[in-house]
């Protein structure tokens, strides 16, 4: 299964037609692609239904998580066809991927979210960047240090692991030089992070905007510097902790890959992105 050679020979000879597409990377994006691909597979089942020129082979689209860096890495080393990345790809990384291509699906924001049992959103709806820094770096250890009327209970920080795109974005846009305290809980995925906040009444973490929408009521986003994480604010860029949702690729697209990407970027695809709680690119 050598990708370079199949690339050239892809001119519709049946033997080398690659019916499988593998996505790997961002745990934020993985559920979205998984959803769209199941719909896609259900609709077409075999490639010849997608396009008459394709052979009669079943459509196999695989989705694997691991974090945005894993997506970049997988695109780089060729262990998957596409990388899913929910942060900006650095120039350095782009240089390492030959024939780099990216497709933007939408925009996500990191909301500073807490458990609904935490009454902070009633007394103090907005946190300043500085306060967030202090909470995440461990300068504030108890909730009553953040706001006097809150109980004297320990703050539980939930973060993504270092491979997650969210962590990089959060570090860059909020923390600056400061370090996130080391005894934070490292969740292996965005889903795990949100789950932890929903389960622990003292938890705070940077939950994805999409996830907040999916779990409305079970998790409460706070404003940052007085700006609420709403669709408008995110699009306008007023809400500062936002990030792009990207699909990246090394080298040229095969025709069947293009067919699927077209679906992703189509109006239908965008609707799904929106339905999942994210801000679609178009």
């Amino acid at each position: 299964a050598d990708k370079a050679s199949s690339n050239e020979a892809a001119s519709n000879t049946e033997e080398v037609f690659k019916s499988q597409i593998l996505f790997k990377g961002s745990s934020t994006l993985a559920p979205v692609i998984a959803k769209i691909s199941t719909d896609f597979i259900e609709e077409y089942k075999t490639w010849d239904k997608v396009n008459k020129d394709f052979p009669n082979k079943s459509v196999d689209i695989f989705v694997s998580a691991g974090g945005s860096s894993a997506g970049v890495k997988a695109a780089m080393d060729g262990s998957s066809d596409f990388g899913m990345v929910s942060r900006a790809v650095s120039d350095e990384e782009k240089d390492k991927i030959k024939g780099y291509q990216e497709f933007k699906l939408g925009v996500d924001a990191l909301t500073i979210s807490v458990n609904p049992e935490n009454k902070i959103y009633e007394v103090k709806k907005s946190l300043s960047t500085e306060e967030i820094q202090k909470i995440f770096s461990g300068e504030y250890k108890y909730w009553d240090e953040v706001e006097g009327s809150l109980p004297h209970e320990e703050i539980v920080i939930v973060t993504r692991d270092l491979g997650g795109g969210a962590h990089k974005v959060f570090k860059k846009k909020v923390m600056g030089d400061k370090k996130v305290r080391e005894d934070a809980i490292q969740a292996p995925s965005m889903g795990a992070l949100v789950t932890k906040i929903m389960e622990n009444k003292n938890a705070i973490g940077y939950a994805s905007y999409g996830m907040v929408n999916q779990n409305a009521g079970k998790i409460v986003p706070l404003d940052v510097d007085g700006i609420a994480p709403t669709k408008e604010n995110i699009v306008s860029g007023d809400y500062k902790i936002s990030r792009p949702l990207l699909i990246i690729k090394k080298g040229e697209l095969l025709p069947q890959q293009k067919a699927f990407i077209d679906v992703l970027l189509s109006e239908e695809g965008m609707k799904t992105v929106e339905k999942m709680g994210f801000v679609p690119a178009k």
């Binding site: 499988q20 993985a30 959803k35 695989f62 995925s189 889903g191 795990a192």
Partner: protein, 276 residues
């Protein structure tokens, strides 16, 4: 006075025994009770659905994927394990080489499964370009269970009366003839049950396939080169991401049933042969 002196020991052992029994009962009934209710045929035969994926639908691709991983692992591991055991028992005439082989097997059994996964990812997936696939994951699982099978088969072969084997050699027949006609039939059941038991370990393992073959969403695998879902990994995702605790219980239950079936298969083979 004599009696009271030992009350401590009595209490301690009985208490430990009770803790043990309670643990066994609790863990099993926990999974069984939470998993068995609401389990229906659709859950077994459907693919994961809903958003996020897994909240609805079933786990069919994961069941098939797990079975495939296990088959690949067992196939791969049992061939080399049996060959090695046969070599040590019947071909190796040099103690030093035997010792060396044992050391290598020992060291392999000491490699933590996550490190094996690490190796599998770098070497099989990236260098050898096998991709994230059933094959890569199966091979890593195979390496993981290889020592287990080897040790048991070697023991089973070693327990065969040497005189019997010599009696066969003394008739002027070859080693392979002896092996297939006498040795293999004698410890066939032991070999099968070791493989079944090892298969159970492979089926329950997550760490080795996390980077090498198991992924969060895939249809039923169609070739050795496609990646696949696996029950334990799916279970991990379901709990870890808080997708659906209810489905997680059901998945755990199904996994447990599969393991139970695998083990009883091994035992059954043994029983059937004894009856003969």
């Amino acid at each position: 006075m004599k009696k009271s002196k030992y009350i401590g020991i009595k209490l301690w052992s009985v208490l430990s025994g009770i803790i043990l029994i309670v643990l066994v009962l609790y863990i099993n009934s926990y999974i069984f009770s939470k998993g068995a209710c609401g389990l229906n045929i659709n859950f077994l035969l459907d693919s994961p659905k809903g958003f996020p994926l897994g909240t609805e639908g079933g786990i069919f691709p994961a069941i098939v994927g797990s079975v495939c991983f296990t088959l690949v692992a067992c196939f791969f591991a049992s061939i080399i394990a049996i060959a090695t055991a046969v070599y040590i028992n019947f071909y190796c005439t040099n103690k030093k080489i035997c010792g060396l082989i044992h050391i290598v097997i020992q060291s392999t059994s000491g490699i933590p499964s996550i490190v094996l996964g690490l190796f599998g990812y770098t070497f099989l997936v990236v260098y050898l370009n096998l991709g994230i696939s059933l094959l890569s994951g199966g091979i890593v699982l195979g390496i993981m269970i290889f020592p287990f099978i080897e040790v048991r088969v070697e023991k089973a072969l070693g327990e065969i009366n040497n005189e019997l084997i010599y009696a066969s050699y003394a008739l002027g027949v070859s080693k392979s003839y002896t092996f297939f006609k006498i040795i293999l039939p004698m410890c066939f059941d032991e070999i099968i049950s070791s493989i079944a038991l090892a298969g159970g370990f492979a089926m329950g393992a997550t760490a080795p396939i996390m980077f090498t073959g198991g992924i969060i969403h895939a249809p039923v695998p169609k070739s050795l080169f496609s990646p696949a879902m696996a029950l334990p990994y799916h279970l991990y995702i379901l709990i870890g991401e808080g997708i659906s605790i209810e489905n997680a219980y059901k998945t755990a239950f199904v996994l447990l049933l599969l393991l139970l079936a695998l083990n009883s298969f091994g035992i059954l083979v043994g029983l059937l042969r004894k009856e003969e």
